[in-house]
């Protein structure tokens, strides 16, 4: 039963990773940009929430809407102000620009908030759980996380398949030039995609801030988890990111169970195994 509990905890953890992975996947899908600052954006969201909590004294859950708006605005501006130009300069330049932004954010946060770890206190929900048996316990907060992540993915799917802007996203993802000829302003669209991705990552950032503590240098690991979930699930598959996140989460929890400290490593090894034996990921769509 201990194993069952581990697997359940892993699945719940995977929901959190999917929240990070969805934003990364969206940005790559629409504009073929691998955003190396993705993890740092999530940490930035957690710190913004921390500042709001500190000044208003409210529960971090209530800061969510405001953090999402701030991050979305920030995403739109940085895309139009920097990343769009970087993408014009070339794909290599775009990656390097996001790397520069990642290092800047990490160090600005370090200067502003020191290297001490911080946490968001959400009150009783953090420790509330449902006891299924003596060894199987489901935390309410973990459950809320994965439900949120499924709702976000459903919303994203609805947005992409049913709305006018979503259609423009898909058109640009398929063929940027043709979409442009059809009258889509891709610079604005890229800004929108980054805004949406950062709004989603803001949820992930606040949730993980409640779940564990964070430091200014925690961003890169978030990026790596998001990225592993995307690759395991298969590039371009929205629900694949959820499955990828879950596989990663289960691998980490089981790894940690087998030997303390092997959790993250176990996740990496599963990722490398996928890379070695099924580099297109588990649920990749047909590559053109």
């Amino acid at each position: 039963m201990v194993w069952v509990n581990d697997i359940i905890q892993g699945i719940l953890l995977g929901g959190l990773y999917a929240l990070f992975a969805a934003g990364l996947s969206l940005v790559f899908g629409v504009m073929k940009l691998v955003n190396l600052a993705h993890g740092d954006f999530s940490i930035m969201a957690a710190y913004i929430s921390l500042v709001i909590v500190g000044s208003l004294g409210i529960n971090p859950f209530y800061t969510l809407a405001l953090v999402m708006i701030v991050m979305a605005l920030f995403g739109y501006l940085i895309q139009r102000g920097l990343f769009n130009f970087a993408m014009d300069a070339g794909p290599m330049q775009a990656i390097l620009a996001t790397f520069g932004v990642a290092i800047i954010i990490q160090n600005l946060l370090l200067e502003a908030f020191t290297a001490n770890s911080k946490g968001l206190d959400a009150g009783v929900i953090e420790n509330a759980f449902i006891r299924i048996s003596d060894q199987v316990v489901i935390g309410w907060f973990s459950l809320l996380t994965i439900i949120t992540s499924v709702i976000v993915l459903l919303g994203l799917q609805f947005f992409l398949s049913r709305t006018r802007t979503g259609r423009a996203f898909r058109a640009t993802a398929d063929n940027q030039r043709a979409a442009q000829l059809m009258g889509i302003d891709n610079r604005h669209l890229y800004g929108m995609a980054m805004a949406l991705a950062l709004a989603i990552v803001a949820i992930g950032g606040v949730f993980i801030g409640i779940r564990t503590t964070f430091t200014p240098s925690a961003g890169p690991l978030r990026l790596i988890f998001a990225y592993e979930a995307v690759i395991i699930g298969g590039l371009g598959s929205l629900w694949g990111t959820l499955v990828g996140g879950i596989i990663l989460g289960v691998a980490q929890v089981l790894g940690d169970h087998i030997s303390q400290g092997w959790g993250i490593l176990a996740g990496h090894l599963v990722f490398l195994a996928i890379l070695a034996f099924r580099p297109q990921g588990l649920f990749a769509k047909q590559v053109q």
Partner: protein, 357 residues
């Protein structure tokens, strides 16, 4: 009568630059005779930074491989040094080339996995692999585990001898990396690499073995980076997995190269000087130097993508000429006054887009 048309490589600038460079190297080699301990330590920091930047430039600027995981080879170099010096009792100075070889050997399986990815995914993939190396070392008690290792036998060497030897080793890896890149670019392989840099598909069409060339570059760069990592930790005498496999190494290489100018030999030299200078200048202000350098790099990469050297080179300065030029009496083509280069050396077609969403 002599043939009036000649093919030549040197430029006016290079005829001055190469002897000048030789003089600088000879002067630098005398530093241990008169320099203070502090000057030598700083010197090692700068020279190893230069070597790391040259290596990263070879990888990214010529082979088009944007890696954010080169810290793997810095760390492997550091730990190879420790293993061979402390566990096998080899003279620590001799362990430096051994560290390079170990890094080169480990780069082969690393490439086997990372080369399955392209573009930005390659970048993060190399990073994950560097993390795997770090975590593995943390888990192995024989390698010191999470608390790290101390280079005891290197520390036991008499201080002035040690400092001088490390300084010369650092000078050797720095000069060696420049000479290596220069000679490689002038070789047949260099021609292939320049072709790949300018247009990968085109190069493939002309019969360049693109993947094989990239793999060789990756291995050679791992060798140089591993050796440099060993020299760095010979200087620091203490290594932890956290520090030796830190992303900061990648930041340092990438920012130096990007600011100086990607895809030129002079660029990383200029970039390393700027990076080192800013770091020294802002030493009292915490990590602000990194914020400033990061902003500078992000700005340069977008708005002046040839870097600082690119701005200078427009004035026709070519210190390390790798091209052949056609000269008729005193007129040469391409001309001295403009460094034409390819129109768009860094622009590549985006990787064939996976159909997404």
């Amino acid at each position: 009568m002599a043939d009036p048309v000649k093919v030549q490589r040197y430029t006016r600038a290079s005829r001055v630059a190469l002897p000048a460079a030789a003089v600088i190297v000879v002067v630098a080699a005398t530093v241990p005779a008169w320099g203070s301990s502090n000057i030598m330590k700083q010197g090692v920091t700068f020279l190893t930074l230069l070597a790391l930047a040259q290596m990263w430039n070879l990888l990214a600027g010529y082979a088009g491989l944007i890696s954010v995981g080169q810290q793997a080879f810095v760390g492997i170099g550091a730990y190879s040094l420790w293993v061979f010096a402390e566990k096998f009792g080899i003279n620590p100075l001799l362990c430096v080339p051994i560290a390079g070889v170990i890094a080169a050997l480990l780069s082969v399986p690393t490439a086997g996995l990372a080369f399955r990815l392209r573009g930005g995914y390659f970048a993060v993939g190399t990073w994950v692999i560097a993390e795997v190396y770090r975590l593995l070392i943390t888990q192995i008690p024989w390698l010191g585990g999470g608390s790290g290792v101390t280079m005891i036998s290197a520390g036991a060497i008499e201080r002035s001898t040690r400092e001088a030897a490390i300084f010369w080793l650092a000078l050797f890896v720095a000069v060696g990396s420049i000479v290596l890149v220069y000679l490689m670019l002038r070789s047949r392989m260099g021609l292939a690499m320049t072709a790949i840099r300018d247009d990968e598909t085109g190069a493939r069409g002309l019969g360049v073995h693109v993947t094989r060339s990239k793999l060789w570059v990756y291995i050679i760069v791992a060798f140089g980076t591993g050796m440099t990592g060993a020299v760095i930790y010979l200087n620091l005498l203490r290594a932890t997995p956290e520090a030796a496999f830190s992303l900061q190494w990648s930041a340092l290489m990438i920012f130096s190269v990007v600011i100086g100018g990607l895809g030129t030999i002079e660029g990383p030299i200029v970039g390393a000087i700027i990076y080192f200078g800013l770091q020294q200048l802002l030493a009292d202000y915490g990590t602000w130097y990194l914020i400033l350098i990061g902003a500078l790099a992000a700005g340069v990469v977008v708005f002046a993508r040839r870097g600082v050297w690119g701005l200078l080179a427009r004035r026709g300065v070519d210190l390390f000429p790798v091209r052949r030029r056609l000269c008729l009496e005193t007129v040469c083509f391409p001309e001295d006054q403009a460094k034409p280069g390819p129109e768009d050396p860094l622009a590549q077609e985006p990787p064939p887009g996976e159909r997404t969403l």
